[in-house]
């Protein structure tokens, strides 16, 4: 039984792509998840909201995927915001790596979307 993550992306006409990740991310599937996420953001998009409410496990391999994705989007003048509700299983990992200091972190998808739109450029 290898590690499984389901990535479900939805693109909206407003230019926002919402990606919901359910399952686990570790070294065995991190690059696969990264490819899926990168491919889901077209050049025309404003940016991406990552919905991590259903992510049950993540280690540094997964966290790095998010950071790299954030940098890549920034290079393309796009934005990445993350929705992580309070009490989510991966919350402690995000606290310890001080995720919020590097990327915009919100408590819900709606907030994350608002953050994305509010961002300059």
């Amino acid at each position: 039984m290898s590690t499984r993550a389901d990535v479900h992306t939805t693109s909206y006409e407003s230019g926002v792509v919402i990606a919901r990740i359910a399952g686990e991310i570790d070294a065995s599937n991190a690059s696969h998840v990264e490819d899926r996420l990168t491919a889901a953001v077209p050049n025309s998009a404003l940016g991406m909201v990552l919905d991590l409410s259903d992510l049950s496990f993540v280690d540094s391999s997964g966290v790095e995927v998010f950071f790299r994705l954030g940098e890549r989007l920034e290079d393309r003048r796009q934005r990445l915001t993350v929705a992580l509700p309070e009490g989510a299983p991966v919350e402690r990992v995000f606290q310890i790596v001080r995720f919020g200091e590097n990327l915009p972190l919100a408590g819900s998808v709606e907030e994350a979307e608002t953050l994305l739109r509010a961002a300059p450029g």
Binding site: M1, S2, T3, D26, F57, D59, S60, E64, R92, I96
Partner: protein
């Protein structure tokens, strides 16, 4: 066709209609008359043989016998009709006339045979037919007199004088007999209607659910009134009608809806009176279905209770016209059916409310408790019985204990569910207040005695200490808890028993304690699990012990096994609640794993680690922290592995006192992972654990992770 085709009533059928049985009697009388005539002929002819032509006697006798034979054949074949009887009467008159002519005219004794067909016709023919027969017979009677005397004038005079009184006598006689007939038929019809009504409606008393009631009632209506199809539509609040049940119809989906006033059913509902019509007269989906079934006559009657419109009953027949008698019968049946539907609707409503309420009081999900694996089942009783008051609960108590509760309120329905809710809340409150099982039940008894409605309940309340492995329990008249030891042998815990809750004021509830071996399983249940029709409670308990014994099973499969063998697939006659709690074996030995250096081993590693950690009673947060830290260390070990032969890494874990230590060992040298997030893995391990040590040597690298349990989360 339009409205003219339908009418609320049709004309009454001929009241003196003869049924098949009457006609058979008529047939037998005809046989007897002709046979007797043939037999008596020689006897009467012998004394007057000088006046008789022997050839004539033989011919007439043979004709009589022939007639008797014809009637015998017709009667036996059931093909006798009124008309054939009538023809027979004329033949008789003819035969008699021939006899009289052949035996001396007016001095012939065969004159006496003339009245016989008249009497026969009086019994089986209408007054008009009888009168004409009488006139013919009288004239035939008179002819020989005239023939002999040659006095035509006298004949006419006698005829004129004789015929009217004969007609009057015949008419009155016939009318009196028809009245008798009619009365008898009306009585029979009433008895038949009552019988039919009874057959249709006695079923309404035996079923509580509409799903069973309606098909049964409709089947009987179709059977009893010799119709082809029937349907019941039930009215919604806005008078729209919904097809609830049909018999003999195709193409009507259950629940198919008719707007208010639509089609025949709608008109019946609005008019609130019976309507008889031809199926083709309407174009609603119900009438169409009846027409497709070939029904040429359809009756709709309203179902009402206390002026409230409940629905419509529609019955259709193809082979015959449904008449007023049928409509009257449907009206009578409809009253009873409407009452039953109303009762069933009320019952189903209450049943649903009670069921929903009761379900809402059972735990939606059992808590995840480290060191304990729990499974529960709840099976509601079959539909006919009422909602029971069984409940169970699993509570996390202060300290290392878990509360296990199983109970059964004696009453049923909404009341039971509400009592159950109150008891459940009270137990939770006392349990969190660290009250002992005996003390909890003692206080609960006081609560029960104080309820507005006096109720009794049986219950087991127990506290299972997961560290000391003690099971402390008190039973209020409940079936005894069952304990299965790790070897699989099962026994009942009979101690700690007192009377049911609410039975006596001031009862002090005893409690008992047993020491459990690691790997034991506790089973709590309600009597529905062990009760079976036709066998004693003791037999049920014995079955439970024997089914629970043997190979130890995890709680989920244990529950499946017990339900499968003790209850089966059919809904049980009483509610069944079952709770199994397995004290997970605390692994005394260390966790030791050796895995190949491949990323695909990470998920299985976490699964095994999760199992081991729940065995050492790590909380969900602790478990998640350790999983991440070990995953980081293992990922490093996997990345270090380069070389021609496949390397492996080792994971070891142990619990000592209040902490868990896990080491991850590989044969490579320590390197920070490459990439942007360099050092992030180490950072996570330090942050999540209370202790992080790295021992690197030429032989390999050992990462030692340590986490305290049962305190605050680390950093």
């Amino acid at each position: 066709m339009d409205k003219d085709a339908s009418q609320t009533l049709d004309p009454p059928p001929s009241p003196a209609a003869l049924d098949a049985a009457d006609l058979r009697i008529g047939g037998y009388v005809s046989i007897a008359m002709f046979a007797a005539g043939a037999t008596l002929l020689p006897a009467i002819a012998l004394p007057i043989r000088d006046m008789v032509e022997p050839v004539a006697v033989v011919a007439i006798g043979a004709a009589s016998l022939g007639c008797a034979a014809v009637f015998a054949v017709l009667t036996r074949a059931g093909r006798i009709s009124r008309d054939s009887l009538y023809v027979g009467d004329y033949v008789w008159v003819g035969v008699t006339a021939a006899l009289v002519a052949a035996s001396g005219g007016r001095s012939s004794p065969f004159f006496l045979l003339y009245p016989l067909p008249v009497l026969h016709a009086a019994a089986f023919q209408s007054a008009r037919r009888m009168t004409s027969l009488t006139v013919v017979a009288t004239l035939a009677f008179l002819i020989p007199l005239v023939y002999d005397s040659g006095e035509t004038a006298l004949f006419l005079a006698v005829a004129v004088i004789a015929v009217p009184p004969t007609v009057v006598v015949a008419w009155s006689l016939s009318t009196a007999l028809s009245a008798l007939h009619r009365q008898r038929h009306e009585l029979a019809a009433v008895a038949e209607t009552v019988g039919k009504l009874q057959r249709i409606t006695d079923v309404t008393l035996t079923h509580l659910s509409l799903e069973e009631l309606l098909p049964e009632v409709l089947e009987r209506i179709v059977d009893v009134v010799r119709s082809d199809a029937a349907a019941v539509l039930i009215a919604a609040d806005d008078l729209a009608l919904r097809a609830s049940c049909t018999v003999g119809l195709s193409g009507v989906e259950p629940g198919a809806c008719l707007d208010a006033g639509e089609g025949l059913p709608g008109r019946v509902a609005q008019a609130r009176q019976a309507i008889t019509t031809a199926a083709v007269a309407e174009d609603d989906l119900i009438s169409r279905a009846f027409a497709e079934r070939g029904a040429s006559s359809v009756v709709g009657v309203p179902l009402t209770v206390d002026d409230r419109m409940i629905g419509v009953l529609i019955v259709g027949a193809g082979g015959r016209e449904l008449g007023r008698v049928d409509a009257d019968l449907f009206r009578l049946a409809a009253d009873r059916i409407a009452l039953s539907i109303q009762r069933a609707q009320l019952y189903e409503r209450e049943h649903l409310i009670a069921q929903t309420f009761q379900r809402s009081l059972l735990p939606e999900r059992l808590p995840e408790i480290p060191g304990l694996s729990v499974a529960a089942r709840y099976l509601p009783a079959g539909e006919e019985t009422r909602v029971g008051g069984d409940w169970y609960d699993v509570l996390e108590l202060p300290g290392d204990s878990v509360g296990l509760v199983m109970g059964d309120v004696v009453s049923h329905g909404i009341r039971a569910a509400s009592t159950m809710g109150q008891i459940r809340s009270a137990i939770r409150a006392y349990a969190l207040d660290r009250e002992s099982p005996g003390g909890t039940l003692t206080k609960l008894n006081t609560v029960m005695r104080g309820l507005d409605q006096r109720e009794t309940a049986t219950a087991v309340y127990s506290a299972l200490d997961l560290v000391k492995r003690t099971f402390r329990f008190a039973s209020a008249g409940h079936p005894p808890p069952l304990v299965i030891d790790p070897a699989g042998s099962a026994r009942f815990l009979e101690e700690g028993r007192s009377v049911p809750l609410g039975a006596h004021a001031g009862t002090h509830y005893r409690e008992a304690v047993v020491q459990l071996e690691p790997g034991s399983t506790i089973v709590l249940y309600t009597d529905g699990l062990i009760e079976r029709r036709g066998s004693s409670l003791n037999e049920g308990l014995e079955r439970l012990v024997s089914e629970a014994s043997g190979r130890p099973a995890d709680p989920e499969s244990l529950c499946d096994r017990l339900i499968g063998s003790l209850v089966g697939k059919e809904p049980p006659p009483d509610d069944v609640a079952l709770l199994a709690a397995h004290v997970v074996t605390v692994p005394d030995e260390r966790l030791e794993l050796e895995l190949p250096c491949r990323p695909t081993t990470l998920a299985p590693l976490r699964r095994m680690l999760r199992h081991w950690l729940s065995g050492v009673r790590a909380s969900p947060v602790e478990l998640q922290d350790i999983l991440v830290a070990v995953s980081e260390a293992a990922t490093n070990a996997i990345e270090h592995a380069y070389g021609p032969i496949e390397a492996s890494y080792r994971v070891e874990g142990w619990r000592s006192e209040d902490r868990v230590t896990v080491t991850v060992t590989d044969s490579g040298s320590w390197r920070e992972r490459r990439g942007v997030g360099r050092g992030r893995g180490t950072h996570l391990m330090r942050g999540l654990m209370d202790g992080f040590e790295l021992h690197a040597s030429g032989a390999g690298t050992v990462v030692e992770l340590e986490r305290r349990l049962g305190s605050r989360g680390a950093a």
